[in-house]
């Protein structure tokens, strides 16, 4: 069976094709076509088929990572969107949580006020109101009002509508009825409801999520349809699946309906790709470290499980989004990050980035600001002639000039300045990792750092050293790890429901009833995707907190019917998790089950482990020996450093640092005091100290 992964990034579209029988994979990179990314993707697929001698009709599945929805939000370029909401609550998405994003600013913009997803003129109210705890109707739905609102919005040229009623997460009947009425009046409208998108309490966040879904809906729907058309035209027989933020793929039809689930599509694929590579080398506790031109994405994977971000921590473009997402920390630190000394004399690197246009000074495209890439080049850690496999030549003299200017401002020599740039950017990345490990009760010394993305392997070892992480794993094709990650996923859907049940008074029957309903809804989704229940695994969980707290922790629930013993396990697991997360638990305090949830995992075909590398020799791999600069025991010194071609390295034969490993899509730095070897899973393993 042949599978294709297509990951569309800001600059490049990465592709990988794999054959599950031969276990062979081939990769390709084409420029991204920003006006319509499906253009470049389709061209890339055609080229990859041709190169690998694959007939398009032999492709069983195309898995796709996309930034289309994210860009629509970040660029504030979505549909003219309308909202129909409960009377008395027209401005929930405008007032928000009445908090300013910045403490110390008079001139700041509040994103949801300055760039509303639904302008106030398009927020219409209708009479309806439910009240907790059971969702009793206080005010029946004014159906005629809904009909009138639908007509008004249609006549105003609105393209998409979000229906947002208070307490709809308890009982969505009013929202569903309103949706049906809007579609009766206006069948071609993109209509979304708050309870469909995010059936959880917290109205500002839920309404905003629904509004965002509507805002990006028409654009993503059209994109998905166009992509499918292009695949058909190209003769590709297989289905299109799109990567969601939750670490699974969804069908094209699902994404066309709920595009808001794809906001972290690319970074999620990266976490999976990094984990897939390192797990083949038997590594079970992983920090994924995906560094590109402008940002570094950090994830934690333990025994094949990654954490989901808590609903309170998921933001896109300054808006809160209540959808399941892999817990990924993104910071503005990458190869293009700009170094500068500010007016007060502070030395800063990032978050501003030179991006790919104009790019680092050494790209010679007009950029003159010193970047992280320039610093790496000045220190001799990048080979000017072997960048992107020689497809791009770097201009060392421009990097030199940029760093010399910076050094002058600092009053040091250029190597000190360049090394300073790396130390600062590495410290920023190490801090981000610390916040996901040390601060969560995880000891980084028990982990492997999986370094990928174009710039991850350049920084992996030094960042690991800052954290006492003993080992770095570099996947075979670091630059296309996200595309490979697309081929490791399952069809993953979530069903969530707010429960509000308190220990001591839990209605177990109700929980079981609710779980049964979620399960039915979930299976219906899989059936629509052509997957029978036998191919779907259900995982049950709950969001719990001590009564009175405002933040929940995710605890796994036992499979099947819940009973008193099972519930007791849940309470114990919550105390333990609270203790681990916060260093403290309150065993005497009552616990509240806030949400229950089921995640479905529908098995999809996957990329197989690549064959064992043939292995070469050091002599064959040696490109050159040159001076590279490293700081060892406080002293900054030049070292004679061997540059090796990765594909010619011997198998399982440790090479002492300093060494630089070059390959088409990335460069790996092995500092003095570290060693590197190619293992049988085709990963590079870097270790601090001598290899035993």
């Amino acid at each position: 069976m042949k599978l294709i992964g297509v990951d569309v990034g800001g600059t490049f579209t990465d592709l990988i094709i794999t054959d599950s029988e031969t276990r062979e994979s081939a990769i390709h990179k084409v420029p991204t076509t920003p006006d319509d990314p499906s253009d470049g993707a389709a061209a890339g697929i055609a080229a990859l088929c041709e190169r690998s001698g694959t007939a398009p009709d032999a492709i069983a599945h195309v898995f796709h990572g996309t930034t289309i929805s994210t860009n629509a939000v970040l660029q504030y370029d979505g549909a003219e969107t309308g909202m129909i909401t409960s009377a008395g609550y027209r401005d929930i998405i405008h007032i928000g949580r009445h908090q300013r994003p910045q403490n110390y600013s008079i001139m700041q913009d509040i994103p949801w006020q300055a760039r509303p997803l639904v302008r106030r003129r398009h927020r219409l109210t209708v009479k309806e109101r439910r009240v907790p705890p059971q969702g009793a109707v206080l005010e029946p739905l004014d159906e005629e009002g809904v009909r009138q609102a639908a007509r008004t919005l249609r006549d105003k040229g609105v393209e998409a509508v979000a229906i947002c009623f208070l307490f709809a997460y308890i009982d969505p009947t009013h929202e569903e009825r309103a949706r049906a009425i809007v579609l009766e009046e206006w069948p071609e409208a993109f209509v979304t409801t708050s309870a469909r998108v995010a059936p959880q309490f917290r109205e500002f966040e839920r309404f905003t999520t629904a509004a965002m879904n509507a805002f990006i809906g028409p654009k993503v729907r059209n994109y998905v349809r166009r992509f499918e058309d292009r695949l058909k035209q190209a003769g590709v027989a297989g289905d299109l699946h799109i990567m969601g933020s939750n670490g699974g793929v969804a069908t094209a039809a699902m994404v066309a309906d709920v595009p808001v689930i794809t906001l972290m599509s690319g970074p999620a694929a990266g976490v999976l790709g990094g984990a897939w590579a390192a797990e083949r080398s038997g590594r079970r506790r992983l920090i994924t470290f995906d560094v590109g031109g402008t940002s570094a994405d950090i994830g934690i994977v333990i025994d094949g499980h990654y954490n989901e971000a808590t609903a309170r921590d998921t933001w896109i473009g300054g808006y809160p989004v209540l959808v399941p997402m892999i817990d990924i920390t993104t910071i503005g630190a990458g190869g293009g990050s700009i170094a500068r000394v500010d007016a007060g004399g502070a030395f800063k690197v990032g978050p501003e980035s030179a991006g790919s246009e104009p790019g680092p000074a050494c790209y010679g495209r007009g950029g003159s600001a010193p970047t992280v890439t320039d610093a790496n080049l000045v220190l001799g850690r990048l080979d000017a002639d072997n960048f992107l496999g020689g497809e791009m030549t770097l201009a060392p003299e421009r990097a030199d000039k940029a760093l010399t200017d910076l050094a002058e401002t600092l009053g040091v020599d250029k190597h000190e300045a360049a090394e300073g740039v790396l130390t600062i950017v590495n410290a920023n990345m190490a801090n981000a990792i610390r916040s996901k490990t040390v601060q969560k009760g995880l000891d980084p010394r028990d982990f492997s750092l999986v370094a990928f993305g174009g710039a991850g392997p350049l920084h992996g070892a030094e960042v690991a050293a800052m954290l006492d992480v003993p080992e770095v794993v570099v996947p075979p094709h670091p630059g296309i790890t996200s595309a490979a990650g697309l081929l490791t996923t399952d069809l993953k859907y979530d069903q969530i429901m707010t429960a509000f049940q308190v220990k001591g008074a839990v209605d177990i029957e109700r929980i079981n009833r609710d779980f049964a309903r979620l399960s039915r809804d979930l299976m219906a989704q899989y059936e629509a995707a052509g997957l029978g229940a036998d191919r779907v695994e259900e995982r049950r969980a709950g969001d719990l907190r001590y009564v009175g707290q405002g933040y929940e922790l995710r605890v796994a629930f036992p499979a099947g019917e819940l009973d008193a013993a099972g519930l007791d396990e849940v309470w114990q697991a919550f105390h333990a998790l609270h203790e681990r997360e916060y260093g403290h638990c309150f065993t005497e305090s009552p616990i509240e089950i806030v949400n229950i949830r089921i995640t479905g995992v529908g098995r999809m075909p996957k990329i197989a482990a690549p064959p064992e590398p043939a292995g070469g020799s050091l002599a064959a791999a040696l490109v050159k020996t040159a001076r590279s600069v490293f700081r060892v025991d406080g002293a900054l010194e030049g070292y004679d450093t061997a540059f090796y071609r990765r594909d010619a390295l011997p198998l399982d034969d440790p090479i002492p640092g300093p060494a630089i490993i070059v390959q088409k899509d990335a460069t790996t730095v092995v500092p003095p005091g570290w060693s590197v070897r190619v293992d049988r899973s085709a990963n590079l393993i870097l270790r601090q100290g001598e290899e035993e």
Partner: protein, 589 residues
Amino acid sequence: MAETPNVRPIDAVTASVIQGALENIAVEMGWKLMRMSYSSIIRESEDFGAAIIDRHGRQLCESKHSTPLQSGPIPGYVKGMNQILEERGQTLNEGDVIIHNSAYHGASHGPDVAFIVPVFHGGALVGYAVTTAHHLDIGALSPGSCGIVDAMDAYAEGLQFKALKAYDRGVANEALWHMMRDNIRAPDMVVGDMEAQVAASRIGAERYLALIERQGLDTVEAAADALMDYSERLMRQAIEALPDGTYRAEGHVDGFLDDPDRRHFKVAVAVTVKGSELVVDLDGTARQCDDRPINMPLEGTVDCAIWLTVRSILLDSESFGHIPQNSGLIRPITIKAPEGTIANPTFPAPTIARFVSGNIVADTLMKALAQAVPDKVSAGVGNLKVIAFSGIKDGGHWVHMDIHEGSYGGRAGKDAMDAVDTLYANTRNNPIEDIESHLPLRIARYELRDDASAAGRWRGGIGSIREVSFLSDSFISVEGDGHAFRPWGFDGGAEGREAALVYHRADGEDIPFPSMMPNRAVKAGERLTLTGTCGGGYGDAAERSADAVAEDVRDGYISRETAESVYGVIVTESGQLDTAATEARRGSG
């Protein structure tokens, strides 16, 4: 090239690395406190602070989640604690945790309780990890900790913790904890929050010590000096850019509007800029109120209001980005307030309800600075109101604080921020779906005010209307402002709108309440309507673009009538701008 600051390069790199590490510590403290805590005032409203203080008492970093009025006073808490300990001849030991809330020793006010963990390295004191948080109740005369507006002196405000050891060398001071449980309403919640504070402060101490062990004490302290110098340098550069001179303004706090002897308190501000120094003098501010808590601690409230305002205007993070929040920032600023005024009261004048007065200090300071930097300020800012709701349920107290937001004034080139917490407050509201699921309250309406935006070239902010119904017999008390004085318009902009509070009795009678009101009973079925303040307009309304006015009409921010009568802009019934009619109208003045 601009003058290069004298920075040694290794210091620049190390300083950057250590700054990141310090901030990471404060963030972790705040994050853990927020997530572990029980009361909505901490976990939802984020009314807490977290900071690391060095051994000299200087703030090194603060949690970015915290509200400025909580983190800002932390150095003052430490100073006040040390002063008391010295007076008593007590010393700090490893394992100690100090509880402190004395408003006359650095605390912001009684309910903002600090837990201070001294950090020792090699037996020597090297700093303090501190959290502060607003507690729902500290045993004052009536339930809650907001709206205790009839406290007649510091003793009526609840328990006073003056640098007491909650843990002495790691051992809990059981007598103290029992006394707290016995004297605080809703003790499970409040003591639970305090335990969360202790845990968060201890984490901070642990992390700070680990940083010192990783980098060396000398390096950390050298970096801390460099970071403070850096923040100071930025502030001095910003002050130097202002024209030298003295700028004055006046503002007013409502006070107790139903009491002719205790209302309309004046706040007078004179800002003198001289080179890179700035002096804020509050001479002329009203005499203290001896027996009602409108007074503000000079250290802990007034100073924070001033620092926050100066920083938000001169080093606005929107254009300056992130700047280390440390004691260096305040070095160029001198604050003077005559003793015996509401801005520098003498013990035991009550201070518990100082919240709204401090925001008037901040707003009045901005009004003064507006003369020096008109393009960096907003017009008058609308003040806030806190309602404390309480009752008895299942044999225990329930207490809930609802902070009703104000709004900002218009700004140079920008309309205002609507319906938002203002100035030194930056809390979060509680979701309606959370409140109604857990309390016998119904939020029956929550929307922007109709046609209430102050006119200006850049319009003023729009406050909100919030309607609360009582589902069971309850109590309320009110601590607010903004009923008697309108936020100022700037440069020809219109004044904003006052707030209002109306109580709808079951018998149909509507009773207006003042902005400060002690605890009173309310009945199931009755309602309360809160109308929030609207900030002032900026610039002449006649200069607002006709298109922008038409957009305001389409969005329902203003009515067609207002567009015509105030802005001279004619908008048709269907929302179209009538260009010809507008030109005729505006042209004719």
